[in-house]
C-alpha cells in the first residue's frame, strides 16, 4: 500500500530540549491513523514537525514521495496539508466566515466548498456572521476542522478533536471525521481511546518522544495489556 506520509526517525529540539528522539510514522493513503500516547509524549510536536512549525534536526519527512523536512511551513502546507491544532486556534478578530475564507489557497475555494462544509456542520451556517470569540467549544472545534477543509487538502492533521467536548458533540465530530476521511487521509491525535479506536484503522504509540509500537487498530484494541501499559487506559 502506498504511504502518503512517511516520517522517518525524526529528532526535534525545542530550545535546549530534545523533545522527539526518534519518531517513525507511516500513513497509508486514504486511512485514518491515530497517534496515541500519554500527556507530554510528543504527539503534538510530531504533527508540528511534519508541518515544519518545529523543524526536525534529524530525520526525514516524506510527503507524497517528496522530502519536505527543511521547507518552510507555508510551503509544506500549500502542498495539500490541513492542520487542526490543539485548542483550535480560531482567529478571534475574524468572523466565522472570515475564519474560513482566510484558508483559501485559490480564489473561490470557499465558495466551492461551502455546501460540503455546511452539510457536514450545519450549525456553522447560522453562525457565519458571528465573531470567532462568541462560539462555544464544540462550535470552535467544528470551525477549526471546517477551516482545514476549505482548500483541497489531501492530508489532514487533527489534534485532539474531542478535547473538552460533551459526548453528543463528540459523536457528531466523529461522524464528520469519518465523512471527510472519504476524500482525504487523516492523522489523528486522540487521548480518548474509545474515540480513537472507533475511528482509526492504524495507530502509532509515542512514548517519551519515541514511537514505540504501531500496527492495526483492531489488534491493539484486543490487546488490553498494551493499552494499559502505554496509555494507562482500560
Amino acid at each position: 500500500m502506498e504511504n502518503i506520509l512517511d516520517v522517518q526517525n525524526i529528532h526535534t529540539f525545542i530550545g535546549q530540549y530534545h523533545i522527539l528522539q526518534g519518531v517513525n510514522v507511516r500513513v497509508p493513503k486514504g486511512s485514518i491513523t491515530a497517534l496515541l500516547g500519554r500527556n507530554g509524549a510528543g504527539k503534538t510536536t510530531t504533527l508540528k514537525t511534519i508541518l515544519g512549525l518545529t523543524p526536525p534536526r534529524e530525520g526525514k519527512v516524506i510527503y507524497n514521495g517528496q522530502e519536505v523536512n527543511g521547507l518552510r511551513s507555508f510551503d509544506i502546507a500549500s502542498m495539500g496539508i490541513g492542520f487542526v491544532p490543539e485548542h483550535r486556534a480560531i482567529f478571534r478578530d475574524l468572523s466565522v466566515e472570515e475564519n474560513l475564507k482566510i484558508a483559501e489557497r485559490k480564489k473561490g475555494d470557499y465558495l466551492r466548498k461551502r455546501d460540503f462544509i455546511f452539510n457536514l456542520f450545519p450549525d456553522l451556517k447560522r453562525l457565519i456572521t458571528l465573531s470567532g470569540t462568541s462560539l462555544s467549544g464544540g462550535q470552535q472545534q467544528m470551525l477549526a476542522i471546517a477551516r482545514a477543509l476549505v482548500p483541497d487538502n489531501q492530508l489532514l492533521l487533527i489534534d485532539e478533536p474531542s478535547e473538552g467536548l460533551a459526548p453528543v458533540i463528540i459523536e457528531h465530530m466523529m461522524s464528520a471525521i469519518r465523512e471527510l476521511s472519504k476524500d482525504s487521509t487523516v492523522v489523528l491525535v486522540e487521548q480518548n481511546f474509545l474515540v480513537a479506536s472507533q475511528l482509526a484503522e492504524y495507530y502509532v504509540i509515542i512514548e517519551e518522544g519515541r514511537s514505540v509500537q504501531d500496527g492495526k487498530m483492531k489488534d491493539l484494541a484486543a490487546d488490553k495489556a498494551a493499552i494499559h501499559r502505554f496509555l494507562g487506559a482500560a
Partner: protein
Amino acid sequence: MNTFLRKNIVMLVAVLVLSAFLIAAAQGMDKQDFVITLLRGLAVGSITFLVASGFSLIFGLLDVLNLAHGTLFMIGAYMGWTVVVRPDTFVDLLTPLALIVSGFALGDVYPLLASRIRLGLSMKRMLPWGLILVSILLFGFILPRYPIAIWDVGNYGQSPVIFAFMADSGTRLPVMPAAFTEISMPVALIGLLLASILGAFGISLFDGTPRTVHLSWRNFVSIAIALIVAVAGAAFNDSLTTFLYGLSSNWLFFTAVLVATLSGVALGGLMEATLIRPLYSRPIYQLMLTIGMSAIGIEMVRAIWGRPEFVMPKPAFFDGAGEACPATNFADWWANHCSTILLLDGRVRVYNEIFIPLVGLVVLISIWVLLQRTRLGMIIRAGVQDSQMVEALGINVRRVFTMVFALGVGLAALGGVLATPSMGLSNVMGESLLLNALIALAIGGLTSYPGAALGSVIVGMIQQFIIKYGQIGIAIPFTDIVFKPTPPLVPASTVMLMVIILLILPNGLLGKKE
C-alpha cells in the same frame, strides 16, 4: 442594546469623561480659543496617530517594538524637505537609492540560486560573509565618488538653513549641477547594482531553509520598477530637475509627500529584510537593534542635513495672504487660499488645524478599510493573534511581515513630511513624537487600531489644552488665584493620565486582554 452597552462600556465611559473634560475646559476660555485649541489638539493627535498606528501594526503582527519609529518619522520629514527645497539633490539621489534597493527586490530568486550552488561546508559558511564584504567594498568605493549636487552643512551661506529660508521667501539660490568626474557613469551604475545584488544574496543565505520557488514574472516586477527608476533618473537627470524646479509649490509639496512616504515604505521593507528578519528568534537583540538604528539614523541626519533647525515652505494652496484674508467662509477661502480662516471669530490656520486633521481622518479610514475589507487585512488581523497558525494555513506570513513593516514606516514618514510645514525640521522631532505615540498607545491599547486613534487624539487634546491654559491661566473657583500650568506640565500631564488609565485598565482603553 444591553449587550451593546456592556461591550462598549469602556468606550462610552472614555467618551463621557473626555466630553466632561472638554466641557470643563470650555468654561475657562473664550469660544474662539476653545475651537482653536480643539483643532490643534486634533492636529497633534493626527500626526501622533500616523506614528502610533504604524508602530502598533508592527508590534501587533511582528512583535517588534520598533524604537526607531520616531527616527523614521524624522527621516520622512527631511526627505520631503529635500524634494521641496532642493529638487536637484533629490533627482541626483534617485538613481543610487533605487539601485541600492534593487538587489533586495529579487528576494524570491536567491533561494533558487542558492540551491544551484554546490559547496563544501566551510565554504558554505564563508560565502555569505564574502558576498557581503564584496558588497560593502563596492558601495564604499562607489558611493563617495557618486556625484550629487548638495548643500554644504559646513558653510553657512550654503547650508540647509539658508536654502530653507530662501525657498520659504519664494526665491531660490543658484545651484551647481554635479557631474560624473571621479567615476564613469556606467561603472557607477553597474557597480551599485552588483553591490546591491551581492549584498542581498549574501544576507539571504543566512536563512538556510531551502524553499520551493515557482518563478513567474511577478518576482521581477519590483526589480524592474527599481531599475526603470534608476535608469530614468540617470538618463533624464537634467530635464527631471528642470521639471521639478518648474512645478508650482503645491505640486512640489504633493511630490514631496509622495516621495517621503514611498521612501519610508522602501526603507521599512529594506530594514525588515536585512536587519530585523535574522533576529526574530532573539527579541532582545531586535530591541537593541532598533535603539541602535534610531541613534545611527539621528547621526546620519545630523551629518547630512546638519544640526540647526530650519523651516519647510508651505504650499501656496495654504499660504495666501492679503486684503481678503483671513477668509470668513469656505468659498472665500477657496478663492484666495488664505493661510487662515475665521471660525467663530477665531483665526484658524488652514494647513495646521484643518488640513492635517483631514489627512489623519483619511488615513484612519483607509487603513481601517484595508484591515477590514481586504484579504491582506484579514491575514494581518489573524496574524496579530497567531502568526504560526496563519503560516500553517499555507500563507507566507514573512512576506506579510515585510509589507506591514514597510507600511508602518511609510505612515511614520508620511506623518513626518506632513508635520514639517507647521513644526519645521529638527534632529529631535522624532524622539518627542515617538514618546507621544507610545503614551497614546499605552492609553488606547498597544495593538488596537481604534485604540491608537483614540489615544492619539486624547494625547493631542490634553497637550494643547494645557498649553492654552498656560497662556490664559485657570481661575481657581472661589479664590483670586489664577493658576498657569508651566510648559513642563505638558508631557508630565500625559504621562500622569497614562499611569492613571493603566492602573484602572492595564491593557489601555481599547486593548484586549492577552
